[in-house]
C-alpha cells in the first residue's frame, strides 16, 4: 500500500486470482472499487449499508458484504467475485442450478445470492432447508425467488430442502 496523497492510496487487490494495482480513496468501499475501479460490475450495489447482501463476495473463503469493507484493508487477501466463480467456460454447479430452478427473476440479487451460497456451503450450513433459509436470510430478494434459490442450493448440497 502506498500513500498517493489527497486521501488516495495505491492498493494491490487480488481478485479472482489476478493482482490489480488500484489507486483508491482511503474511504472507498471494496464494492465501489470492484465496480467502478475494476469494472467488475457483477457484484451489485443494492443498499450500500450492509442490509441487502447484493454485494456479497468471498474474502479468503469467507462471505462478506463488500459495501461494508474498505478496499484499502484488502491487501494480500484473496477476493472471489461472481466473475471468478466459473472454471473457464464451465459454470459453477450453483450457477447451473440457479438456471435450472429458475432461482432468479430480475437477476440483480443473484450474484450475491450465489456467492453467499458458496460461503454457506463452505461453512457447512447447507444441511437442511431450514438451515439454508436461516443462513441465507441476509440476502434479500424482492422478486420472490426465495423457494427456488433454496431448492437450487439444496440440490447442489445434495439434500432435500
Amino acid at each position: 500500500m502506498t500513500d498517493h496523497g489527497d486521501d488516495q492510496v495505491m492498493v494491490t487487490l487480488r481478485v479472482n486470482g489476478c493482482d490489480h494495482e488500484v489507486v483508491a480513496d482511503v474511504c472507498a468501499t471494496l464494492l465501489d472499487v470492484l465496480r467502478d475501479g475494476l469494472s467488475l460490475t457483477g457484484t451489485k450495489k443494492g443498499c450500500d449499508m450492509g442490509a441487502c447482501g447484493a454485494c456479497t463476495v468471498l474474502i479468503d473463503g469467507r462471505r462478506i458484504k463488500s459495501c461494508l469493507a474498505l478496499a484499502v484493508m484488502q491487501d494480500d487477501k484473496d477476493i472471489l467475485t461472481i466473475e471468478g466463480l466459473a472454471s473457464g467456460e464451465e459454470p459453477h454447479a450453483l450457477q447451473r442450478a440457479f438456471v435450472e430452478h429458475d432461482a432468479l427473476q430480475c437477476g440483480y440479487c443473484t450474484p450475491g445470492q450465489i456467492m453467499s451460497a458458496v460461503g454457506l456451503m463452505q461453512e457447512g450450513r447447507a444441511t437442511s432447508g431450514a438451515s439454508i433459509r436461516e443462513f441465507m436470510s441476509g440476502n434479500l430478494c424482492r422478486c420472490g425467488a426465495h423457494p427456488h434459490i433454496v431448492a437450487a442450493i439444496a440440490q447442489v448440497a445434495g439434500i432435500v430442502p
Binding site: D25, C27, A28, D32, R35, D36, S39, L40, T41, G42, T43, K44, K45, G46, C47, D48, M49, G50, A51, C52, A54, T81, I82, E83, L85, A86, P91, Q95, F98, V99, E100, H101, D102, L104, Q105, C106, G107, Y108, C109, T110, P111, I114, I132, R133, E134, M136, S137, G138, N139, L140, C141, R142, C143, G144, A145, H146, P147, H148, I149, V150
Partner: protein, 731 residues
C-alpha cells in the same frame, strides 16, 4: 375436467434465456454501462415537509476540487411541464426528501462531499403529515387507477337495512415502498450539438419515457433514445414515478455539456420514486342467513401528495368479484406533505382485497358458514359492474383445485382448535381477481440466411420473463429451438412495445409477435412451394410443418432446413412487422382469478406468526411458460406475505420524515419467512382474448394478505384489520 398443472417443473419447459448471463454477473444494468467521461450527480434534499427556500449558498461546494456544477432552481433549465413534478422549478418544498439542488462532479465521492457543504435557508411552512390530520379535506379524484372514482348499482342503503346480517368494519393498510433491489439510475448522453439525447436507465416503459423526455426538453421523439436492457426489478417504481429524477439527471447532463450519471441511494428510493398509498377502508356487507350477499359498500380514503392526485383502484374486487345487486363504492384522497404515491404491484386490488376478503371471512364467521362455501355461494355469473359477460371466469375451478390440494375440507370451523405444542395453527383463504389490461404493440420477427431467428420488440424485461416468452412465441411459430433465438428489447430504436406494468406486457405483445412470426412462416412456406429446386415444391401449405429448424412434408421424408431455404431464396433474410391493438369497445369483461389458502402457526406466548404453507390456484388465461409463471406467481405471493406481516413505511408525524428509509428497518420477507409453496395453474382457453393471455404479475399479490390474516383469526380469534400483523396483535 379442467387440466391442471401442479407446481412440479417440467424439464421440457424452457429455462429463462438470459439466466445464463445473469448468474455469471455479466448482465449489465443501467448503472454499469461504460460511458467515457461520465460525470456524477448527487442530490441535495430538503429536510422539511413543507417550506419555502429563501436562499441556497453553494459557494463552498462550488469551490471544491472535482465539482463541476451546482444546479439550483435559479439555474435549472425550464422544462415543458408534464404530468409529473418538475424538480428545481420553484423555491418550494412539498415533502421531506424533495431535491432542491443537484451537484455534478468528477466522481461520485466528490459529488457526495459537495452535497454536505451546501447551505439551504428554509422558511418552514405548515405541513399536513398524515392522512388523519387532513381527513376533513378529503376530496374525490377524477379517476381511481383506470377505473371510475365512484360506483353505484341498485339501492345499497335500502338493501343493507333489509339484510338479515350486516357487518361494518374499518380496515387500514400502510404506505409501502416498491424497493426493487436495483436502485434507479440514469446515464444521460447528449449529442454534441445538444439536439438529441441517449438515456440509459432502468425503465418499465421505454417508449413512455421517450415521449416524456422529448416533450419536456422540446425535442422530437426521433432525437431521444431510451435504452433499458436489464431491469433489476421495478414493481411500479420505474415507470412514471421515476420521471422527476430521470428528467433531473438528463437536465444536469445538458447543463454541464457532459454525460451525467445520477444513481439514487436506497434512502432516496423511499421518497423519490413513488410508494403504495396508505388506505383507510370502510366496508359494509349485508347478507341473508343463507350467505347470499344483498348489499356492499366500500369507501376508501387514501393519501396523495400535496402536488398531484393519485388513487389506487381499491374497490375493484368489491365491484366485480361477487354477485350482489346493490353495491356502492368510493375513493377519496387526502393531500399530505409526503412523497407522491403511484401504482405498486397489484395497486388497489392488493389493499382492497385485504378489506373485502377479510370482511367475507368475518361474515362467514357470523353466519357459521365455511368461508369457501360463502365465496362459492356468491359466484358472479357476469360482471355486474360494467354489465358484460365474462370472457372466462375460472374462480370456481381455482377454489376447487386449491381447496383439494390444501385439504381445506378438513378445516374445523371452530377457532383455535388445531394445536401443536405451544403453537396454535390456523387456516384461512381468500379469492383473488385482477383485470386484464392490454395496449397496442408492434413487433418484428426475422430469420437470417444462416437460420438465426430474431425477435425485436421495444418492451422491457424486469424479471418477468419477457426475453424468454418473446423467444418462445417465435420458436413455436417457426418450429425452431428457443435456444438460438436472438431477442432484442428495452430500446426505443426497436418497434414500439408495451409497458411492463399492470400485468399487460405479455397480453399486449403476444398477438403482434404471433402475427409477425406467422407472416415469416407463411413466406417460408410460399418459397418452398414455388421453388422448383426444393424437395417440397408443389406441395400445399397444409401439407407442410415446421419443426426442429426444418420445413417438412407432413407425410414422407421430404424436408429442407429453414436456413437453406432462406439462404437460397432470400439471402438478405425474411422479415415481417406486425402490430396489434385491443378492441376499442370490449364486448366481454376479462379478469384473471385465483384462490389462495394459508396455514399459519402462532406462538401463543410470543405472538409470533409464521406462514407454514400456502396453496394457490390460478386461472389466468394461456400460460406461455409454466416454469417462469410459477416464479411470477410466487413472487406476487411473497409481496402479499410482506403486506400481511412485514411491510410499512413509517412517517414521523412531527417532522413529516420517513423513519425507516433503509432495508434494515423497512422489513421485506426474507428466506426465513418463506412457507412451503403449492402452486397450481389451471389451463384456460379464453376465446375472447387475442392470444388468450390474461397477465399474471399482479394476481399473486391479490388476496394473499387476507388469506394470512384470516388464518391468524382461525388460529387465535384475533381479527387483525390493520396491516401489517405484528406480535402485539396476537398476544
Amino acid at each position: 375436467m379442467t387440466a391442471v398443472v401442479t407446481d412440479k417443473n417440467d424439464d421440457r419447459v424452457p429455462t429463462r434465456i438470459e439466466a445464463g448471463i445473469k448468474v455469471k454477473g455479466a448482465a449489465r444494468f443501467a448503472a454499469e454501462i461504460p460511458i467515457q467521461g461520465v460525470m456524477h450527480a448527487a442530490l441535495v434534499q430538503a429536510p422539511l415537509a413543507s417550506a419555502r427556500i429563501r436562499h441556497i449558498d453553494a459557494s463552498k461546494a462550488r469551490a471544491q476540487p472535482g465539482v463541476v456544477s451546482v444546479i439550483t432552481h435559479e439555474a435549472m433549465p425550464r422544462l415543458n411541464q408534464g404530468a409529473f413534478l418538475a424538480l428545481l422549478r420553484e423555491p418550494r418544498v412539498h415533502f421531506a426528501g424533495q431535491p432542491v439542488a443537484v451537484v455534478v462532479a468528477e466522481t461520485a465521492t466528490h459529488a457526495r462531499r459537495a452535497v454536505a457543504l451546501i447551505n439551504v435557508d428554509y422558511e418552514a411552512l405548515p405541513a399536513i403529515t398524515s392522512v388523519t390530520q387532513g381527513s376533513s379535506e378529503a376530496f374525490a379524484p377524477k379517476v381511481a387507477g383506470r377505473t371510475s372514482t365512484d360506483s353505484r348499482r341498485g339501492e345499497p342503503e335500502g338493501a343493507m337495512a333489509a339484510a338479515e346480517v350486516t357487518i361494518e368494519k374499518r380496515y387500514t393498510t400502510p404506505t409501502h415502498n416498491h424497493l426493487a433491489l436495483e436502485p434507479q439510475c440514469v446515464i444521460a448522453v447528449w449529442d454534441r450539438d445538444g439536439a438529441g439525447v441517449t438515456v440509459h436507465t432502468g425503465s418499465q416503459a421505454v417508449f413512455a419515457h421517450r415521449k416524456a423526455i422529448a416533450d419536456g426538453f422540446g425535442l422530437s421523439v426521433g432525437r431521444v433514445r431510451v435504452v433499458s436492457k436489464y431491469l433489476g426489478g421495478g414493481f411500479g417504481s420505474k415507470g412514471s414515478a421515476w420521471l422527476p429524477c430521470l428528467m433531473l439527471g438528463i437536465a444536469a447532463a445538458r447543463h454541464v455539456g457532459r454525460p451525467v450519471k445520477l444513481e439514487l441511494t436506497r434512502a432516496q428510493m423511499f421518497t423519490l420514486v413513488g410508494r403504495r398509498q396508505e388506505t383507510i377502508q370502510t366496508l359494509k356487507l349485508g347478507a341473508m342467513r343463507d350467505g347470499r350477499l344483498v348489499a356492499m359498500t366500500h369507501d376508501t380514503v387514501a393519501q396523495t401528495s400535496s402536488f398531484a392526485d393519485y388513487a389506487d383502484p381499491v374497490a375493484t374486487p368489491t365491484r366485480v368479484l361477487y354477485a350482489c345487486p346493490n353495491v356502492a363504492t368510493s375513493h377519496r384522497l387526502v393531500r399530505v406533505n409526503a412523497p407522491q404515491p403511484n401504482p405498486m404491484r397489484a395497486p388497489g386490488e392488493g389493499p382492497g382485497s385485504f378489506a373485502l376478503e377479510s370482511a367475507l371471512d368475518e361474515l362467514a364467521h357470523v353466519l357459521k358458514m365455511d368461508p369457501l362455501a360463502l365465496r362459492l355461494r356468491n359466484y358472479a355469473e357476469r360482471d355486474q359492474h360494467v354489465d358484460l359477460p365474462w370472457s372466462s371466469n375460472g374462480l370456481r375451478d381455482c377454489c376447487r383445485v386449491g381447496a383439494q390440494s390444501f385439504g381445506w375440507a378438513r378445516r374445523p370451523i371452530a377457532i383455535g382448535t388445531m394445536r401443536d405444542g405451544h403453537h396454535v395453527l390456523g387456516w384461512g383463504m381468500a379469492a383473488a381477481c385482477y383485470p386484464v389490461y392490454r395496449m397496442a404493440s408492434e413487433a418484428v420477427v426475422r430469420i437470417e440466411a444462416n437460420g438465426t431467428v430474431r425477435v425485436r420488440c421495444g418492451t422491457q424485461d424486469m424479471g418477468s420473463g419477457t426475453y424468454t416468452v418473446l423467444a418462445q412465441l417465435a420458436a413455436e411459430a417457426l418450429g425452431v429451438p428457443v435456444d438460438g433465438i436472438d431477442v432484442e428489447l428495452g430500446d426505443t430504436a426497436l418497434p414500439e412495445g408495451p409497458y411492463s406494468g399492470g400485468s399487460m406486457a405479455t397480453a399486449s405483445f403476444t398477438p403482434a409477435v404471433e402475427a409477425a412470426a406467422g407472416r415469416v412462416r407463411q413466406r417460408l412456406i410460399d418459397l418452398v412451394i414455388e421453388d422448383g429446386e426444393s424437395p417440397l415444391h408443389g406441395l400445399s401449405a397444409d401439407q407442410l410443418v415446421l419443426s426442429d429448424g426444418y420445413i417438412r412434408a407432413g407425410t414422407g421424408n421430404a424436408a429442407e432446413r429453414l436456413a437453406d431455404v432462406v439462404a437460397r431464396r432470400a439471402p438478405d433474410g425474411i422479415e415481417a412487422f406486425a402490430d396489434a391493438a385491443p378492441d376499442a369497445a370490449p364486448r366481454y369483461s376479462s379478469y384473471g382469478y385465483g384462490a389462495i389458502f394459508a396455514e399459519v402457526r402462532v406462538d401463543v406466548d410470543l405472538g409470533e406468526v409464521r406462514v407454514v404453507r400456502l396453496t394457490a390456484a390460478y386461472a389466468a388465461g394461456r400460460i406461455l411458460n409454466r416454469r417462469l409463471a410459477r416464479s411470477q406467481f410466487i413472487g406476487g405471493i411473497v409481496g402479499g406475505i410482506g403486506m400481511a406481516l412485514h411491510e410499512t413505511t413509517i412517517m414521523d408525524e412531527r417532522l413529516g420524515r420517513i423513519v425507516n428509509d433503509n432495508l434494515a428497518d423497512y422489513l421485506i420477507p426474507v428466506h426465513a419467512d418463506m412457507p412451503a409453496f403449492d402452486i397450481h395453474m389451471i389451463d384456460e382457453d379464453d376465446p375472447h382474448l387475442a392470444g388468450g393471455i390474461k397477465g399474471i404479475g399482479m394476481l399473486g399479490t391479490v388476496g394473499t394478505a387476507a388469506a394470512i390474516a384470516n388464518a391468524v383469526f382461525h388460529a387465535t380469534g384475533r381479527r387483525i384489520r390493520d396491516l401489517p400483523i405484528r406480535l402485539e396483535h396476537c398476544l
